[in-house]
Amino acid sequence: MINIKVKCFSQVKYALGADELTFQLDDNTTSIDLEKIIRKKAGKKLNNVSLRIAINKKYQKEEIVLQNGDEVVFIPPVQGG
């Protein structure tokens, strides 16, 4: 098992109702798996919201296997100005 911290911003924060969450996940869980978990937890609140992902402060273009202790940020586009 691995422990992952998710830092929540913008729509993700409001959808999940928390600034930070920790997850205990199976080994070999990927970033896409985690996104599915997040979306399921958010119910419909993240429907149609694109999410990009950063792991340990680095933007990730591709799916990546998460490691124990990783810090994950989901980045939604925000449009207000």
């Binding site: 600034d19 925000v78 449009q79 207000g80």
Partner: protein
Amino acid sequence: MIITPEVLNKQKNDFTIIDVRSDEERQNFPLLGLDTILSSYDESINVAGKKVLVCQFGIVTEGMIIEKNINNAFSLLGGAQAWVEYYNENKDLSRWTRQIVLPEIGIEGQKKLLNCQVSIIGMGGLGCPVAQSLVMAGIGKLKLIDDDFVSISNLHRQPLYSFQDVNKKKILAAKSKLKALNPEVTIETDDVFFDDKNGEELLLNTDVIIDATDNIKSRQRIDQISKKLKIPTVYGALFRFEGQVSILNVNGSAGYNELFPNSNTNGEDSCADAGVLSMLPAIIGNIQALEAIKLIVGINNNLIGKLLMYDGMNHKTEVIEL
């Protein structure tokens, strides 16, 4: 009391001018065009009548006049450095002396700001503080692009507009306020909605683009033109108590369309739908202005290739390497 180089030049015969600098500073920055007497910080000033005290940056003499209670004395704003610039190039930069004294800015940095054109797309919550701060910092030329009118609901977060401006064009109300802040700034206004047809022409001759728009389509459009014209964009966006800032498209660095490819939202995140507290646009807009200044001056510690996420509710920030 202070006096600027420009005013001193006009009235120099009315003053005794006292140079309190070190010999080395006098050699490196001679006060050409002024008849001076020499003194120092430690000496008492026993000159009757009106006098101007000159140090290197205009800061020591301001304090000296107060501490030593020197009567009829003025401190030269910006000091010898500002005088030399005025004498050689007929430019009075003394009003920016408090930022010129920063080693990261200096006279050369200030000149870069004066010679730069910044175009702001969107004169709403972000555009107002960006424009205000850039003009105060001494940007030489600003282009304001927006076709919107001022409405009452804008006033809580758009500080360039007042009740008298409601129903006026934003760009015209903004221009008037900005010219009051610095009459020497050149402000061009374009009363159009930025789109695919006009975008490229609008941004010709621009050095830095400020993305202060409020929708993803405009941001994607700006990114395409920013890439095509090879002009960097300082991106900013808001959501409730939060904001994002990045410098995009600098020598091939990531742009908006790489950061948010094929992006969607659920349409509930605009300021009108999600709400926005009045301070957030000011915070994020000023970070955009700060990044623009660093980019123009050439300060390398900046947000090129990075995304700043800021949450004003808990003051958490995240800087993500793109």
